[in-house]
Symmetry: C2
Subunit: 207 residues, 2 copies
DNA sequence: AGCATAACCGGACTTTACCCCGCTTACGTA
DNA sequence: TACGTAAGCGGGGTAAAGTCCGGTTATGCT
């Protein structure tokens, strides 16, 4: 909800969004959610979204820039809510617990988040964009980086380590686990991935 | 080179490819390489590829199924050659060295491979495909899995660990490192990623 | 060799992401 | 409150991905 348009990457909004534009974005996102629920992501077309919203095609594209942009916006939206839990919710996810515990439960929460938003997350990938589309999951990466800073790891490239961990967390879901598995048995997937993350973090962070 | 068409996922070819089809695939791959070198991946269109090859559009699509399929084929091609080095080349990459050393140098070789084929690798991603397009880099994953099996890691989900490591290896390049950085200073990227991989593996595999 | 059949070929056709540009509307200033 | 202007709007236009199907060619069998 904070961003002005698809080019506004910086957080401090340089200029407030015009009222009608904000209204339209809201409406577009809501309509997109409806259509995805009804038809599935692969049948969400830009034209149909525009028509059902009662807006012009041009508007849709100015808002989101590209088809993948819609899904990124949707994901951002969900991620923002999720991130609030993480930043100010109860321990061990929120502050108060030892950083290692927070890291572990963060990963577990994110696995659940990604399983839930799996369809949208896949559609937000875009092979044509030269730069990682909107730089994938920067919030997640930043949070992991922050927690790593509070753990004593000796000399290490913490920024890179955070990137690697983020990839090890997101990758198995987005790229490597078959969609069939996920749809048929999301529970089983979680039962495997959650301990996997736990184990990975323990291995990396032990002295 | 081995696969009959985009639906043939199994390795043992059920039926040999017809001679003209094989010739056309060869020719298409070669032409695609030329055009990418001349124009860049984003300007490689299916129509242009067909015309320049002197073939019909239908042929191109039957061969590769989708635009991303072309890039997957190109990547497969390169990966196969790379994999031979790994399976039968000299140590520490090839067999003969201790598995931990092989794992480390494998990652380093793969980083170089991905930096080199970066453009194609990105284009091989496809957000619309419900299943991880051809299941991304299965060869790499299998090799890592094999090496992990030769290292004493105590009780662990080795298959999942291999997936996580593959993601931690590929992810930073495909998703998180900006394309600008890569193009301007591939050397610097390597200088950072190579030690990063070394460090990650040491952390995970120490007793 | 001759034939049946399955695979392959090509290019016209459809769908859809994305661009363009003249018109309209909201907001800062006087 | 009136005005100038920058931002927003909409829908027709383009190009490229992906589909279809009638015609063609390779291959196995006799």
């Amino acid at each position: 909800m904070g961003r002005v348009n698809q080019f506004d990457v910086s957080w401090g909004a340089p200029r407030p969004e015009r009222a009608d534009a904000a209204r339209n974005r809201q409406h577009l996102i809501a309509t997109a959610r409806e259509m995805i629920a009804e038809l599935g992501q692969e049948r969400l077309t830009m034209d149909a979204l525009a028509e059902r919203s009662g807006l012009g095609k041009g508007t849709v594209f100015r808002r989101f820039g590209t088809r993948a942009g819609i899904f990124q916006a949707l994901l951002d939206d969900g991620e923002r809510a999720f991130q609030e839990q993480v930043l100010s919710g109860p321990p061990p996810l929120g502050p108060g617990a030892p950083p290692l515990d927070r890291l572990i439960s963060y990963g577990q929460a994110r696995v659940r988040f990604l399983v839930e938003h799996q369809e949208i997350a896949r559609a937000a990938l875009d092979g044509r964009q030269p730069i990682p589309s909107g730089s994938q999951s920067p919030l997640s990466q930043a949070h992991i980086r922050m927690l790593l800073g509070q753990i004593d790891l000796g000399p290490a490239d913490l920024d890179l380590l955070a990137i690697q961990l983020t990839a090890a967390l997101d990758g198995p879901l987005l790229l490597y686990v078959s969609a069939t598995d996920l749809n048929r048995a999301p529970d089983q997937v979680e039962r495997r991935l959650l301990p996997g993350w736990h184990d990975l973090v323990r291995r990396i962070c032990r002295p």
